[in-house]
Amino acid sequence: MVNVQDGSVIKTKKVDFYYGSFKALTDVTMDFERNRVTALIGPSGCGKSTLLRLLNRMNDLIDGSRVEGEVLFEGQNIYAPEVDPVDIRRRIGMVFQKPNPFPKSIFNNITYGPRLTGMSKKADLEILVEQSLRQAVLWDEVKDILNRSAMMLSGGQQQRLCIARALAMKPEVLLMDEPTSALDPISTAKIEELIQDLKKTYTIIIVTHNMQQAARVSDMTGFFYIGKLIEYSATDKIFTRPDVKQTEDYITGRFG
């Protein structure tokens, strides 16, 4: 799964996206590199979340939406007619803005996906639960209360549970849509630490409204404005000497 050679896992090629007649993305061409954290930043409504949801075909759920161009995942266009979006979502996991555990026990939250995809042995599931919770740095906090409802956990714990739940499907890529915007600073710090850890194994793409967060956690940053990718390069460069004036205005807080 982990490829030593560098290169991109996901490429978008001239992607346009429409909600009905509203064009939300225009001509987005972008490479997401393996085992890197890529941050998507920009003001509200700039299309960054739309792009994220395009990468695992979550936008399929919206009536009247339409994609043009190509999204290549390991070389294959995920919008080709023969591709089953369910397979894509298994390989590209997602964590949402608000922690959204199921009203089930902690254990069953993790095993929900794997069970439905054929894992049934209790011993295997137990190993997977521990593994996933450890990866999400939640194991020590919940190992004695696995049968308690996930709804009892704090917001930060719930979000790490959601990360563990996504990891239990053994995805190759992890998409994170403002994963800390509903959390307190301490929980946020824990999740940011976790992201640093996870990029050893996964390719991570994160949408964030928080400039400092993008600067702290990401290797690459793309700045979006009104549906267009304005500038995309190494995070250091974007935050110190961006090429485009709009990018500079945004990160220095002059608008957005």
Partner: protein, 284 residues
Amino acid sequence: MRWRYIKEGIFFSVVRLSALLIVLALGGLLFYIFYNGYQAISWEFLTEPPIDAMTKGGIMPAILGTIYLTLGAIVIALPLGIMSAIYLSEYAKQGAVVRVIRLGVNCLAGVPSIVFGLFGLGLFVVYFKFGASILSGSLTLGFLILPTIIGASEEALKAVPQTFRESSLALGVSKWQTIYRIVLPNALPGILTGSILGIGRAAGETAPIMFTAAAFYTVKIPSSVFDEVMALPFHIYVLATAGTHIEETRPIQFGTVLVLVALVLSIDLVAIVIRSAVRKKKRW
């Protein structure tokens, strides 16, 4: 300045009075039925068939008949209603087709119950040759409560947070599995509560079963769904209008009414218990 307070006072009194009137009306109705009916209630009344041209004896066949018809209606309408609601709220693209189906469901809800009775007579009793039977009656009652069940189910499905669906789908779980494993279990208490209230209503209907299931008099315990049965609402109707001893059987009439009301209220009670149990557990 004063006038404003007076106006507010008047308005408050009016709305409070309206609410009070409803409770009074219900209370009065229940009291009237209980007061006139309780003397008729006895173990024999509940467990014996009627005797002496239905002027004496019990109403057991009618109780049993109503229970059979109600259960039959549930068995027929609940799966059909839930599946229609799943289609409407989870699968169907919102557009002309869905609008037409919704309009159809709403129209069905507004059809007078006697029309359902005649429809059941024409289709199930005569055309399908089911005769006047539990089957025909249950089917007719089932169609009568279908709009209620669809409506309640759609509401309950819509109340399941969209984030549950999204997080399940994002894990690479298929749409049907998401509905089956996440959406339905969370919607089920709501579906049942709404549906049971509708079913309680159906249990007391006379017109739909009059031509399709209800017998004037039979002491036979039904052995198949093709048997006709007595039913509480129809029994009341018969005793109060068509008997030869209308005045003498008043106590039995009120006793039967009391049993019917108790039956309907206990069905409603089941719904209320489910609802409060779920409210306690619900955490989103």
